[in-house]
């Protein structure tokens, strides 16, 4: 017990963080679990008609899962390259906000930032932001980013090769992997009524407009559910009081 207290005091003295080993373990847990799901992307992408090279290029160069799934899904549905890319791009915009938080937390030198940028994604942000100090955040970012990047690209390759080997991916139910991935990413975001309202409205717009608009466009219009709900809320909130509410997160 005294040893524990001393150890605790030592940790506090060296900056109040948790041991490096624990950070590495957390980071590897996330990196490996999510990295393996590159397999699902490789299969989905190859099943959508992209070549092996195109599939691997997406994981190497885009490296943000939801955007990759969205792009191959839109291309498979016959969307134009630009509407497909636009949908994937808007999904990637959230990474800018992770970058904003991370740049303060990690305090990276300016020359390192262009290299670190490719790893600014959901998982690295989640692990880094969960650490109590800068050292832990930096280790978490590095280990999560490295393990996830390597595994995601490796499993993408294996998935694409596997899909080519088995031929008809739909017969194996692999066309359900894409929507299941989206649902798994979406579920933890549906915390309050606001998120659920946005999701519900987006589903209605996305499905309702599908038969009448060119492929890829309904998703972009469905994205307007977000500003629409925010705007409606802002009106409702400011109407009774008339002053601008000081909103805290």
């Amino acid at each position: 017990m005294t040893a524990e207290q001393t150890a605790l005091a030592d940790v506090r003295d060296t900056g109040g963080g948790k041991p490096d080993g624990a950070v590495v373990r957390d980071a590897l847990g996330v990196g490996v679990a999510v990295g393996l799901s590159g397999f699902a992307f490789g299969v989905t992408s190859a099943g959508s008609g992209l070549t092996l090279l195109q599939t691997c290029a997406l994981s190497l160069l885009v490296f943000t899962g939801a955007s990759q799934f969205a792009l191959v899904g839109a291309l498979a549905a016959g969307g134009s390259p630009f509407t497909a890319a636009a949908g994937a791009f808007f999904l990637g915009v959230r990474n800018a906000f992770y970058g904003l938080r991370l740049s303060q937390l990690l305090a990276l030198p300016r020359v390192v930032r262009p290299f670190a940028a490719q790893w600014v994604i959901d998982e690295t942000a989640a692990v880094s932001l969960a650490q109590p100090d800068r050292r832990g955040a930096r280790i978490g970012f590095l280990v999560t980013g490295l393990s996830l990047y390597l595994l995601w690209n490796l499993t993408t390759l294996l998935g694409a090769l596997g899909a080519e080997a088995i031929g008809d991916t739909d017969a194996w139910g692999l066309d359900a992997a894409g929507p299941a991935v989206f649902l798994a990413l979406l579920a933890p975001m549906l915390r309050t009524g606001t998120e659920r309202t946005v999701a519900g409205l987006a589903v209605l717009l996305g499905l309702g407009l599908l038969p009448v608009l060119p492929a890829g466009v309904p998703v972009l219009i469905a994205a307007l559910a977000a500003p629409a709900v925010l705007w409606a809320q802002g009106r409702r909130k400011s109407a009774p009081r008339g002053d601008v509410p000081e909103e805290d997160r």
Binding site: G92, A96, A117, G173, L186, G206, L207, A226, E247
Partner: protein
């Protein structure tokens, strides 16, 4: 060729927003409205994409084995299953329903 254009545009755009977050001075994007919008945009996109990739066949709406697969994924999520199990459940159930129903 079209596919390479889409890949190039997506790669450039996604890299640019990642880098922008690291380079832009704090405060520019820190307004509450911008933050709220950035958090809600993926919700709208993911919800629409989930629905479309489950119920769309080209530009027609259909109810097929994928719906059963997605329901299985939803059940797995409610049971707090790991990510890969959620995706696996959707794939297995979709394949199973197709095998049974032809």
């Amino acid at each position: 060729m079209n596919i390479w254009i889409a890949i190039g545009a997506t790669a450039l755009g996604c890299y640019a927003v990642k880098l922008a977050g690291l380079l832009v001075p704090a405060g520019v994007l820190e307004r509450p409205v911008v933050r709220r919008l950035a958090a809600l945009l993926p919700v709208a996109l993911l919800a629409a994409l989930t629905a479309q990739q489950t119920f769309a066949d080209g530009r027609a709406l259909v109810l097929d084995a994928r719906a059963a697969g997605l329901a299985a994924a939803a059940v797995a999520l409610v049971l707090r299953a790991p990510f890969l199990v959620v995706v696996g459940a959707a794939v297995v159930v979709t394949a199973g329903v197709r095998a049974l129903g032809g």
